[in-house]
Symmetry: D2
């Protein structure tokens, strides 16, 4: 596959979509991003990486980090996580409390905010430094030691974090957080603030295409665990648009309000696309269009 040619064609095709949608505006640091940015990278399972556009520009990973935090917890802790969080699509926005109340403080899945807070809480218990452990993992798998937190973004998230605080205290009221709420929120906000480029994220996510094998050839997850993370990404990775994403793109994916999306073609490659304009459900407009176009051009899809 001539990735460069395919990505060039994808970039040309989606150019009219770049700049559409709304940049996430709930914190000033994200609202200031140029909506005209677009980058896409593909990391082959053999380790090569190709990209076009702003593919080497760092951006705020936000919820894309949730896929990696889940992988770290499953790798260390196995299936026990599922006693504290479900793995069903939520059918509700990412920050909803309604379902949480109906289901007694057990979040529907690890990718809505409530579920991600549980994952961070567990990672904190397992490592003593959830955000640090995740950063270290992302540096190692991306091969980029410069990956780091954006402390300004983290502080801004905390300042505007009343909704996430509500989710965390609510779960704490059901006994579903082991660490103090402020600790969990601090690590969660830092985790979301990590800055990476499409290149970094595509490489960091390669283990999901390599059925669990990491950058250095060591196994990070069992084959079965890697498949299962892909399954959770497909059914729950794009908020309440997961069905539509599966329908149009047909790949496991995880999006963030920074405008990034990673997508996995098991056994072949991992993609990362970035463009800050979001649709009404919080997914990058140009990003989804690019992945849609990529799968149409290549004929690659899990279906």
């Amino acid at each position: 596959m001539d990735y460069q040619a395919v990505l060039d064609e994808v970039a040309a095709a989606v150019a009219p979509h770049v700049g559409r949608g709304e940049v996430a505006g709930y914190i000033p640091a994200l609202a200031a991003v140029d909506p005209g940015r677009f980058g896409i990278a593909v990391a082959d399972i053999d380790g090569g990486v190709t990209g076009v556009g702003d593919w080497e520009t760092p951006f705020s990973v936000q919820s894309v980090s949730k896929a990696f935090a889940l992988a770290l917890v499953l790798a260390r802790d196995g299936e026990s996580l599922w006693r504290r969080v479900g793995r069903e699509p939520s059918g509700n926005p990412f920050n909803s409390l309604v379902q949480l109340e109906h289901e007694n403080g057990i979040p529907r899945n690890p990718f809505i905010n409530a579920g991600a807070l549980v994952v961070t809480d567990r990672l904190q218990s397992l490592t003593g430094d959830a955000a640090g452990a995740l950063l270290e993992f992302l540096r190692a798998e991306s091969g980029n030691p410069a990956v780091s937190f954006d402390h300004g973004v983290a502080a801004s998230e905390a300042e505007h974090g009343d909704r996430n605080a509500a989710l965390a205290y609510f779960m704490a009221s059901y006994g579903n957080l082991d660490n103090p709420v402020p600790t969990v929120l601090d690590h969660y906000f830092r985790q979301c603030s990590i800055e990476m480029s499409c290149r970094d994220l595509a490489l960091a996510g390669s283990f999901l295409a390599r059925h669990g094998v990491g950058r250095d050839g060591a196994r990070l997850l069992s084959r079965s665990e890697a498949k299962r993370i892909n399954a959770v990404m497909l059914t729950c990775g794009t908020y309440d648009a997961a069905g539509d994403f599966a329908y149009r793109v047909g790949l496991p994916g995880k999006s963030g309000v920074g405008g990034g999306i990673i997508a996995v073609i098991p056994g072949r490659c991992t993609l990362c696309v970035w463009s800050p304009g979001l649709d009404a459900r919080g997914n990058s407009v140009a990003g989804v269009a690019a992945l849609d176009h990529f799968t149409t051009l290549t004929g690659w899809s899990v279906f």
Copy 2:
């Protein structure tokens, strides 16, 4: 009306109910109360007060305080409160977040916890010391300068206050709190911790039977405002059992999980009953039975 005879008969009739139900167990200080306690007092609009049983024993007023906090805010601020809180029955438990999400952070009424937090927030803005202002008011109207906070209960509420913290942060995320969340929670927990006897509460609530006129003859609320607080108590004062309370008792009332209930017979008297055993919806079992029996004996009801 020979109140003493009526109250004696009420006490005898409800004796089999005393001890039934569950004492509120979410904080140790409340859980330790003797479930066998029962007291009832009636304060006539002319200032006399009569009681039987444990009617002079202080107990934790808890949500009964919400009626007084609402009166203070309406007295100082008039109708503007209703931009921030509704006045419809909620149909949901007192600490539910579901409705709050569906209705964009505007609590359904001032007597569910979320609404009471908004009232406390407003009282804090108006007075600079919400809990203190309320305490002073209750001392003045009850004529008992010994009425005070139970700091142990307040601390215990704070320690087990994750659910209320969730409600407060959730409303803050919608911009519906003006003061910092920890400040609002602190005053709210202290407000709930106030200890008063049936005698104190019946006297303190007399202005609601006197159409707004306070202990010293000065007008605290307009006639219309006093009626309106009674209306809100009737439709919303006993959590999701308000319809049943209206059906059985037929009086405006406000209950608390400490086992106290005040009830108003406009133009006649104010009642307060206390017994710690609660039904499934958080109202005193023997307390509701006593009010039911009182209205049956006297034929007094707003209907």
Copy 3:
């Protein structure tokens, strides 16, 4: 009380409200009503009746009929009805299915559509002709043998009755209807189609002000039952605006989308007001304003 003078003043005061709001448009027969109509009548407990405006013009009673159907069932069947329908305010629109699903087919109260269908079903079982029994009762209590069904309205309701059919089949799926769904719907639509004037309805509802005693002096309901129907009207009679109606008007009331509202001042009189323009929650704009003004002028309120 010089009712005529009071009603004249009320009519003058609310004239600016007449014509405001939206006439119920879901069936053509209702949509064609002149929004400029306004009438009000008061029936004293001694049997006298006074009115102004269009107080002798028949209109479609719609949901006002639910108060009378409830009275008939309670009179014949006592408290057993409450096993099949609750008596709590719903906090949801009158034709909502959400609560019905959460609560296993038991409607929240007898005045939302689902609850009224249960009442009609029970009345059908008790009488063999629910709509006919209700009509006969309304004729007798109003003293007007000309009160009758509007078969055109009933047919139109049936034609546009998919939502009510959904409610009925849904309850049937929980076993909460005893008669065939089409039978229940037929009687329900006819019950709602009854045409009466303010005069007729104020007289027909006098037993609720007379603590259960009917036109001919015979007891229709016990004193306690009459109070209880008033309580249910106050907490549930005006859909999801019951709290606001209690706050502003302070009387037990029952509204209909034909623009009529009855209200009860226990021990004094029964009012009926009619004006077709409805607010967003289905209550007559000028009707609520008129009752509000009436209680302000007279100082009469249950609170």
Copy 4:
């Protein structure tokens, strides 16, 4: 792949699960099925079919039919269906009305009952005989002209069909059904009553593994449409257990309360498993276990 050996091993492994769970009891015809039955068949894309156990015994396909009805509508009508039904996982049981009310009569996806009724309604408009068109299609693709309705089951479904009637009338109230409700229900109940064996269903579903190409080599659906049906099956095909099914089995699948499940391995084969005992969410206990085991043995998964 030696299918026979794999299926034998699967059957041996899941034998302890056969008979577990509850046979669907809502209609007598289904309740009478022997819970000890188990069959599994695999239809290779080259047309061969292999099976073990009760793989040639007809059973009631129930909701498995929904995947085929969707295919027929998409084949004839393209994307326009999605204006009337969504394609997001519901997160609620298959017969819930709650979401339907929140979303104005637009069902969440075509595999919950409400959505399937819309599909049947559309198929009726397109063909004039929805159930007949579906039956003809299933006969042709399975190569078994004996496939037929079970009129006893259809009649029994109708007799116990109040819940589905509620769903249909509810959507009709939003204008989301074009045909009369009784017509839609009649075709829906007959569609669900079709009897087929694992052999029949695996063959009939082969076009989904062949990227849209039918039994006779003619294209039934475009490659893209076939992928998209697989995507909808993966995200929505097993009710509110879709996330769990994706996690454990990792294949597009569609289950029915008759105990059947079809699953697709795109480019390879289509599976059908049958065992009547259902889990709490309506999926065959032994069926899910068998598919889980099959994917583990073969290593085949879309992830």
